[in-house]
Symmetry: C2
Subunit: 474 residues, 2 copies
């Protein structure tokens, strides 16, 4: 983060006006969030604290979306979902997100937590949330379970935004973000996450030690108070075939939320001695419902966001998404305590988090001349940077035809995502900064950093970062 508040000050634009509000709003929201209890979808009315000249102090609502078996959709996005709440532009919403890896260690991540217990509930007769994935409810494809695990993330939402229509932009300001404390008295004051080195990881066919191949779960401890800015390894274990309560055997991690029977695995403690992993709490999944299909696998990210898996989508950041369906329909999931660029082994430190967001609707007819004009991909703004997200197939649902949702898993490459990120950055510089193509291409080479967002989500990602300070020299 820049220590120079002037950098922002000098960027006069519609978006910037909103940004100043964001910083002020963050303070307001923080106070309010603390007064709201979890349990049911809630709403409270707040008044902006310190009005500025020219702004009319007004009432804003603050909604609460807990994570329960009634408020999550597991493994898919859908424009058909009934919104949990409908908010107005400018409103706040606090959303609880559960990691879909909590059952890797239910003692540490589920037990004693009513929300998590309702979501992960699974006995011989029923599951708290039956459908997991966008596949058929009768698991006729692979026999894994309802939804077939074609999509894995526990998504909370959707939240509808009043008046949002295709062509508009939804601005999502991440005001706050906190790890969910462990509810088991045995681990009071701690929080935990799970990292799965799984079959869809970049490393899986390239192991050098035996047994090969193997899947490995590593449990990490995180400080829920936020005092300590690092996570540490607790133990790891190799995945063994797990029989779910319905009797299906999962030889590999092929269905989300399968309870791991710790009598069947070997916990190896004393790992990663003295290693402190810097935390970067963020939402792996944050995005809108797409228009192209009724049921969309939550794994591949694309133009309306979703599973982007960029660790920069954390506290203080703002995301801009093109609205594809009426109401926008925002959902959050796949919360992470930390991740590196590439998410190499298939997952991050998957850790339940609660986030507070302010949602601002940018109507289509107000976008000309702003950084949002013509935006058709998920754009990230931090205090110092613009981050553009490229994908192997930016609009794979239309690009890859009727079988898009399976084809996307066969065709990705970093090279393709790099090309998409380049094209987006060129467009951004030409349209929002008024540069010629020659100027934009020169800056792409000398002032833009291209990084590998992820190589594990079907539709691989490359992000392009440009510092705002480039344009502060007027």
């Amino acid at each position: 983060m820049s220590s120079d508040p002037e950098v922002g000050e000098r960027e006069a634009s519609d978006v910037h006006e909103g940004r100043r509000e964001f910083l002020k709003g963050a303070l307001t929201a923080g106070g309010v969030a603390a007064t709201l209890g979890a349990g049911a979808v809630g709403v409270s009315s707040v008044t902006t604290a310190d009005a500025q000249p020219g702004m009319v102090p007004g009432a804003r609502n603050h909604y609460y979306v807990p994570a329960t078996d009634k408020t999550v959709h597991w493994g898919y996005f859908s424009k058909l979902l009934k919104p949990l709440v409908e908010v107005s532009s400018g409103d706040f919403v606090t959303i609880e997100v559960l990691t879909h890896h909590a059952n890797d260690d239910a003692e540490r991540m589920v037990k004693g937590d009513p929300g998590a217990e309702s979501v992960f509930y699974w006995d011989k007769q029923r599951k708290g949330v039956d459908r997991r994935g966008a596949g058929p409810m009768q698991p006729t494809l692979f026999g894994r379970g309802a939804g077939e695990g074609l999509g894995v993330h526990i998504c909370s939402g959707p939240v509808a935004v009043r008046g949002a229509q295709p062509g508009d932009i939804l601005e999502v300001r991440i005001i706050d973000l906190k790890p969910r404390p462990c509810a088991n008295p045995r681990y009071k004051g701690k929080s935990f996450g799970s990292n799965a080195a799984a079959w869809w990881g970049f490393h899986y066919k390239d192991l050098i030690t035996d047994p090969k191949p193997r899947e490995v779960i590593t449990i990490y401890e995180v400080d829920p108070s936020g005092e300590r800015n690092w996570a540490q390894g607790v133990y790891n274990f190799r995945w063994t075939p797990q029989t779910d309560p319905f009797g299906v055997v999962h030889k590999i991690i092929d269905y989300p939320g399968v309870p791991v029977d710790h009598k069947t695995i070997q916990e190896k403690h004393g790992i990663l001695k003295n290693v402190r992993v810097p935390i970067r709490p963020h939402f792996g999944v944050l995005g809108l419902a797409p228009a192209e299909a009724d049921m969309v696998d939550s794994i591949p990210p694309h133009y309306v966001g979703g599973n982007i898996d960029d660790w920069r989508i954390g506290k203080g950041a703002t995301m801009y998404y093109p609205v594809a369906v009426p109401g926008a329909l925002l959902s959050a999931g796949d919360s992470h305590a930390s991740q590196g660029d590439s998410e190499l082994c298939g997952t991050a430190i998957e850790c339940s988090l609660t986030g507070t967001f302010q949602l601002v609707l940018r109507k289509k007819d107000t976008l000309a001349g702003t950084a949002l004009a013509g935006l058709d991909y998920p754009l990230l703004e931090t205090q110092d940077e613009w981050v553009l997200h490229g994908f192997s197939y930016p609009k794979y649902l239309t690009e890859l035809g009727a079988e898009a949702q399976s084809k996307i898993y066969e065709k990705s490459s970093v090279d393709l995502a790099m090309k998409d990120a380049f094209r987006k950055m060129r467009h951004f510089l030409m349209t929002t900064k008024g540069l010629s193509e020659d100027e934009a291409i020169s800056l792409c080479s000398i002032a833009v950093d291209f990084g590998i967002t992820q190589v594990v989500d079907g539709n691989w990602g490359v992000h392009a970062i440009i510092k705002k300070s480039l344009f502060a020299g007027a």
Copy 2:
């Protein structure tokens, strides 16, 4: 850079001992470099200023390598080159590096500068430096000129290190690095660089505005005093066919150092208004002579370094290279004022720089248990990070057979470089940090950032960054 000096302090190792010396040495060398004039290869004896308990204060030499027609090798590495100087482990060397793009604007980057004028000299009868590239001296392949432009960088060196043998590691500490001031009185107090958006760029076949395709040169101004930490665009122009003094017409940028006749191009001024490009002075090319061939094109980077094009190879950084031939034979070239990760359009801000280095020889039998054990690729250390360099083909000269030097231009991908960077990071974590493969792979996913170094150098690059602070919690 970390503001916490303790992070370094806690890392007790052989390498770390050297690191403390580096910081001290940097001060010593800075003072000495100022007393040395340019012109001829020079040497001066220096004494370490403030000896520590246990260290014997001793004389160290400081060598000077100017850039002239007698001290550069243009476009290739070769183990057959006679060293300009031979230094001992611990000695300092200041090396002038000229950008091979200086003739894009000779008025600003060559004129009045005796070194640059001797290198770029070219009339109907002779060139100051005839061979440019690893190709044949009689340009029977493409008719471009001697060496055929198969390799483009003006490299200063080589510098031999006394006692260096294959299997050893050469540690290269970058003590200082400064832009070369313009010698033309008309531009007194300024420094300039050139960015070429060229046919080998990632964008070239993907242009959206006419004419297509086109090559564009953008001239940037840089502050030689180092006071101002940004560069600004001066003007740009589209490449037109240029006839060199020998009468060869260069329709595209196919041979380095062709003087651009400014009567044939249109300078477009007033570009990139108010845009300030953050500077990141560094050496695009820094590396050792490889063993596998006598003449090696300077463009593809590989295990002994060379044209890595990572902007982090700047002041305060340390590079470690595996020695491939007796004497190590270090050369520097391709100096850059700034570059982004990917170097998208084919070049950076190509700008002549002068660097001061300390060279430390790490003998093979002293490496066990250090970060350098088994190192077979170029490794970068900064105050806060380890940066490992992966390539599509890490040892392409042996991997791709007899035609390796041409094949490498057809086969690269970011995906391959990503795989190599992953394997290297896994090896680094397992050998130097003593982690199991499972621990290493988990960290690769949650704590390592993979970025795209470059997609324009034949052998594409991905770098993997891990923070040292992970291991500071003992």
